[in-house]
């Protein structure tokens, strides 16, 4: 773990044991912070990391734009007559697909963090246990927001018009963020469970590709064979895509919203405890 750099040769200022002693005399400890407070502090850490390593925004900017352009022009003519007609249908879906795909990077960053030393320090702190994990997800929520805004801006340029107006779009994105937060507990689990960054990545791909493509994001499920329809119609991504599409179109798809929130609750209820068990045992 040698980090030899230019600073290595610099003369280090001496340690002042007197001022150190003065600092150590203060034995009083502040009150323990609340769980939202520690979670937000970890979220702040995630934002600091974006500040220092801005390259990590690549996957929430370039990747969604690429998806949007690719699928709109690839399928538009064949499926809806023209890309302009298709984008009206496909944009909310691609938005959902892209953001849900991006969530898998959470697992990778959890895994990378464990490899480094800082993780054990966090685990030894007297704080609400899940806050480090929740912090990751809060930082990620910011990334998903960026991705959503980027895609919507691009969509507007390509001719997408949301009939739901601003409120509809905001409601759609909010639902997408809630779902992504809940869904990400799968990735925190994999991040803690699997040994290497690579294995996290490959397992995540195996989950995310079928789950996002086998949905109603691109086409109407009625064109699919019966067994596939059974899967697609019950997939959480389908419910989410329908709900977001409805909200952005100015409807209130109560059933789909309820289904989406139900799935979200289920993800947290199942993968949250598994993640925390792994976190405590690591």
């Amino acid at each position: 773990m040698s980090t030899v750099t230019g600073t290595e040769n610099q003369e280090l200022a001496p340690v002042s044991t007197e001022s150190l002693a003065a600092l150590l005399v203060a034995k009083e400890r502040p009150q323990r912070p609340s769980s939202p407070s520690t979670s937000l502090t970890f979220g702040w850490r995630a934002i600091l990391k974006i500040k220092h390593v801005p390259e990590q925004l690549f996957d929430v900017t370039a990747f969604p734009i690429m998806n949007l352009l690719m699928f709109t022009y690839l399928f538009g003519g064949a499926l809806a007559g023209s890309p302009q007609d298709y984008i009206q249908f496909v944009l909310p879906g691609i938005l959902v697909m892209s953001v849900v795909m991006i969530t898998m990077y959470t697992g990778v960053s959890v895994n990378v963090d464990i490899e480094k030393g800082v993780f054990d320090r966090f685990r030894s702190l007297p704080i609400w246990r899940p806050s480090a994990m929740v912090g990751y997800l809060l930082g990620d929520a910011l990334r998903y927001t960026i991705a959503s805004v980027v895609m919507l801006a691009m969509g507007l340029l390509l001719g997408y018009r949301a009939d739901g107006g601003f409120p509809g779009v905001v409601a759609g994105i909010a639902l997408l963020l809630v779902f992504s937060f809940a869904f990400s507990w799968i990735w925190t689990m994999f991040g803690l469970m699997l040994r290497t960054e690579k294995s996290v990545m490959s397992v995540s791909m195996m989950v995310i590709f079928p789950l996002t493509f086998l949905s109603n994001v691109f086409v109407d499920p009625r064109t699919m064979p019966g067994w596939l329809q059974a899967f697609v119609n019950n997939s959480p991504v389908t419910h989410l895509a329908s709900a977001v599409r409805g909200l952005m179109a100015g409807d209130w798809p109560a059933d789909e919203i309820a289904w989406t929130l139900g799935w979200a609750a289920l993800f947290v209820a199942v993968f949250g405890p598994v993640t925390m068990r792994l976190y405590n045992r690591k």
Partner: protein, 357 residues
């Protein structure tokens, strides 16, 4: 000054941790008095880090019990976390963040308000001589700076118990001495320190009691004096001017010091391993031997005094060598540290001091 002054800081009974087939920690019993530095000495893979991780609630023991200031590390893990801090090669800081950001982050997690967190971070960086590097990402820090920021992060709140897991491994002698100064300053304020190390001289410099651990078991425990007595006082290395006088010198040393004398490959060199039987220090015994040799007209060109190295401690305690992994072999302290005149002058990597005779 500790609020938990009654009872030991750490008490473990039959602590066990297994990883698959390996018993990494195999029934460790430790009692660490509060307010002292306790040294845990052993080679790589002896089970030191695993023990510390269990005590710091990072690993769950598979057997036995451990209490920190009376709190069980499994059942009362949360209370234990409130009293301890740890610094090691594993528990460090976030390399992507700057020094200031790291300390502010941790201070906030400990419940400090934004402004007090900033003040505390700045004060600590100042005390640790890191003010200039405060705005740099930690990944650009040198080894010595890394260790300082790691320790600073551990004392944002003055802990009752501080774990230092091999705090100086891989550091140059100067940085090592500075870490030692920090440890002394921390202990002076009443914090108990559990220090693990591969270096006998480090334990010697800092710890009042030492446990030697090997293959997950405590193989010796006691004060520094007791431990040294069990392995002998050290050895005297001599180089004579005249190879012909060597048999004579050998005989003289054996009679005078009751020491085991070894003839080196070099025809003018010999080594006497000093016993712990007498109350004389190694230096006194060596001085007497030199006097006798001079009286007999045997000219000594050069001599040096060596403390028992970790290898020798292990040889004495287990009857076998360390598993060849004891770092850079830097285990011999210098002799003036041994006689108590010098502090913080140990070279760490030298095995003995050459003294012109």
């Amino acid at each position: 000054m500790s609020t938990q002054s009654s009872g030991p800081a750490i008490e473990t009974v039959g602590l066990v941790k297994t990883f698959g087939e390996t018993r990494a920690v195999d029934g460790v019993d430790l009692t660490v008095p509060a307010g002292t530095v306790y040294g845990v000495l052993g080679p790589n893979g002896a089970g030191k880090t695993t023990t510390v991780k269990m005590l710091a609630t990072l690993l769950r023991p598979d057997g036995g019990e451990a209490r920190v200031f009376g709190h069980d590390v499994v059942r009362d893990a949360d209370q234990v976390r409130g009293l301890v801090s740890l610094t090691g090669q594993y528990a460090s800081v976030d390399e992507d963040l700057t020094g200031t950001e790291n300390l502010v982050l941790l201070a906030r997690l400990l419940g400090h308000h934004k402004t007090t967190a900033r003040t505390r971070a700045a004060q600590l960086l100042e005390a640790f001589g890191l003010t200039e590097a405060a705005g740099k990402q930690v990944k650009h820090y040198s080894g010595g700076m890394r260790r300082r920021i790691d320790i600073a992060a551990s004392i944002l709140n003055t802990p009752d118990l501080l774990f230092l897991d091999e705090p100086t491994t891989g550091l140059d002698p100067r940085s090592r001495n500075q870490v030692w100064d920090i440890v002394r300053a921390v202990v002076a304020q009443g914090t108990t320190v559990l220090l693990t190390t591969q270096y006998l001289d480090e334990a010697d410099q800092l710890a009042s009691r030492i446990a030697v651990i090997d293959h997950g078991k405590v193989i010796a425990e006691g004060t520094k004096g007791e431990l040294k007595a069990s392995v002998g006082a050290g050895s005297v290395h001599l180089r004579l001017r005249d190879a012909d006088r060597r048999p004579e010198a050998e005989r003289l040393l054996r009679d005078l010091l009751h020491a085991e004398v070894q003839l080196e490959h070099d025809p003018v060199a010999l080594t006497a391993r000093l016993g712990a039987a007498t109350s004389d220090s190694a230096a006194e015994q060596a001085a007497r031997a030199l006097g006798e040799l001079a009286r007999d007209g045997i000219t000594v060109d050069n001599f040096s005094l060596g403390q028992p190295s970790l290898d020798e401690v292990f040889l004495a305690l287990t009857g076998r060598e360390t598993d060849g992994s004891a770092g850079d072999g830097g285990t011999g302290p210098d002799t003036d540290a041994d006689t108590g005149t010098g502090t913080g002058t140990g070279t760490g990597t030298g095995t003995k001091d050459e003294v012109a005779a």
